[in-house]
Symmetry: C2
């Protein structure tokens, strides 16, 4: 690994692309790159243009994922994919997703500049629609490429436009019929691995003072996006406590109960996360002068600690039974759309450790709290692994930040990984 360990990623390319991506998707506060919409499409166009200029071979698949390939010395070997997504949440930051794509492009452009070709093909894959706030399905872009997106997902509607995934794909010139027909663009047998660099989205790398983490597992768990509490509306001054069926009081019992249990889990060293991201009442019915007869909420429970996840799920059922008994309401959780935790490929994880060592980069190791496209590859039987890049101010918000020096460390690891890819 002597020679390859010195190959530098093309950081100038990455810096220029971060700036042009931000400019093209500015939507104060923050940036918006809407999945299968104009924002994401502009991001793909910019990255494709940069990849072409860098001398990479560019293609697209029927689902709109883009690929920038550095051909290997020999044909017939398995392709190594380095990738992430180019969409963002509404009013999000510039680095979530894009950092992984740009780290890959910088790595391959660096190899081109050094006239270095790996033994077999390495490609940067830019996926679509990873942020599930747009379409209520996980990783539709990556899954479609792998032939694993169920046909009925094409009928799912984007949360803001109300138009279906198929309609959005067609509007951009892609081919949802190929997805409906079960075609695949990527054969798992022909892929050596999928490696995704991504900003950490949390403070752990700041706390441990490391630029990069190697990620051996991705959190999964339970995800309820349509939970609902049904009680009864009543006049605020006319209904004493004993007759109330107060949906908000019931919700507070559940939220406070989960939070108290989470405190206990933390004290015991169990590392999971619970989030009630959306709560609300029916704006057409609820006023300050009515006991609320209905409430809705979302609940996400995630981690890689399987026994702790199961225990929190059981506690949720107990809290719901208590809330129903105490407040005379009915709680329905609705469908559970949570992915299972994914334990990534140990050999590929070891390859990342070796590449980091070759560059004298001391890496942290931690599981991912968020789901990522890497999970879709892992579930398809493709060896998958991830790198986290230290970042400031979390993610999915306008203040998301990242130091280019930290990004450069991840890009160096990827450059070494790509340079030494054997097929």
């Amino acid at each position: 690994m002597k020679h390859e360990a010195r190959l530098e990623p093309d950081l100038a390319l990455a810096e220029a692309l971060f700036a042009s991506l931000r400019e093209a998707s500015l939507d104060p506060p923050g940036v918006t790159r809407d999945a299968y919409g104009p924002g994401e499409e502009r991001a793909h166009a910019l990255c494709i243009e940069a990849a072409k200029e860098a001398g990479l071979a560019v293609t697209r698949d029927f689902a709109g994922n883009s690929y920038a390939t550095l051909p290997g010395k020999a044909e017939g070997g398995r392709t190594l994919l380095i990738g992430s997504h180019l969409d963002s949440v509404a009013h999000g930051g510039n680095y979530d997703g894009a950092a992984g794509v740009l780290a890959g492009l910088a790595a391959l452009s660096g190899l081109v500049k050094a006239n270095h070709r790996p033994e077999a093909d390495v490609a940067v894959m830019m996926t679509r629609a990873e942020e599930t706030v747009w379409f209520p399905v996980s990783f539709p872009g990556a899954k479609a490429a792998l032939g694993r997106l169920p046909a009925d997902a094409l009928a799912l509607k984007r949360s803001d436009t109300g138009r279906t995934l198929a309609e959005h794909m067609r509007a951009l010139g892609f081919d949802p019929d190929a997805i409906a027909a079960g075609r695949r663009h990527l054969d798992p047998e022909r892929i050596a691995g999928f490696v995704e660099a991504h900003i950490e989205q949390g403070p752990e790398l700041i706390e441990v003072d490391r630029a990069v983490a190697i990620v051996p597992a991705i959190s999964g768990g339970y995800r309820f996006r349509q939970a609902r509490i049904t009680g009864e509306y009543a006049h605020v001054g006319g209904a004493p406590k004993r007759v109330r069926r107060d949906a908000v009081a019931a919700l507070a019992h559940i939220v406070a109960g989960i939070n108290a249990s989470w405190d206990r889990f933390e004290a015991e060293g169990h590392r999971i996360m619970t989030t009630f991201g959306v709560i609300g009442v029916d704006p057409a019915m609820a006023t300050w002068s009515r006991v609320p007869g209905e409430a809705r909420f979302t609940l996400d429970i995630r981690g890689v600690d399987l026994p702790a996840l199961a225990r929190m799920r059981h506690i949720l059922d107990e809290l719901i039974a208590e809330a129903e008994a105490k407040h005379g309401v009915t709680v329905t959780l609705g469908p559970d759309t949570g992915p299972r935790p994914g334990f990534l490929d140990e050999a590929l994880v070891q390859r990342l450790r070796d590449c980091a060592s070759a560059r004298f980069i001391a890496c942290h190791e931690m599981p991912s709290g968020g789901g990522h496209d890497a999970l879709a590859f892992h579930e398809a039987g493709v060896p998958a692994a991830m790198l986290f890049i230290r970042n400031q101010n979390g993610s999915h918000n306008p203040d998301e930040a990242m130091e280019m020096a930290d990004f450069a460390e991840a890009a160096r690891i990827l450059a070494t990984l790509a340079a030494t890819h054997q097929g």
Copy 2:
């Protein structure tokens, strides 16, 4: 009181008016009589027509309140007002407000049919805009008649139309300039009392098995309609508990804490009520995949037990301090628009007891949980009192119900009160 005690209210008039009111304001589910809008205006027109047919003298004031007067034998005496409001909440029931107006009209029509004239004038007053879901001000109709509506209330906007109170008044031909100029239609010195019959809106009369209650006090307390919690948005999988500033978790702490304290108050026999009627997050920012950085809520705390009210207010401050410390958020309650509790006129309350006794009607006694127009008169120095009519399924909801037999008992008490009015 021998003769007058036998005078029967005109229940046929009331029954016919309940039916025509329902038909004119049907808005499934329930009825909508929007304050200073078409729904309330149709209700006034129907009641005025019925009052004229019953032989009562009909007038309106500059704020759109309607009056149906049975002239007394002599001029110069003080007028007794019997009244309530004709607006309803959106998708509410047919009895909240209307029952008090129709009980008054039935009482006076009964006197007309019996050729009985009291010593001095008795009038049914039909007020406007009592339901504060429409305009964020209490009792604007009654207050305007009394010359006590602040001029700046005319600029308040209706929650659904966004048009001001003045604009709504003008559209119906009323005279907001008279209000701005501080004029009054009713001189407290010339009013013997204001008696309001109203459905109970709660289950207490059902539980004690009485048709009617005499109400010696009206609840007041604290009312926060614009409370807000500010934390920080963060990625759901990236932000561990220790760095979260979760507005929903903080809200749950406050709601669950107030509810637990309310349980203790109830066990101690302290009779107050607390309601979080509206909770929510910013729909443009909150998703299931983000730690919520902002939440808002309304909180109403009411009763007639002054020490208990003050204690709950103190507990609220403690809970807010705890939530801020534990969750790193900032809580602002916003303006407190709660009215003070109103202890009604003891002499008038005793008159109601005497009239009920004269008709052999055994009444319950209880404070009112809700604010009512009677409070506006009380605050203006007019002797005020109330009757509650037993009703089913609470109020402010489409299932609101009332037995005509119970209504008849209240109307009988009012008929006796009107018949024996001395001026």
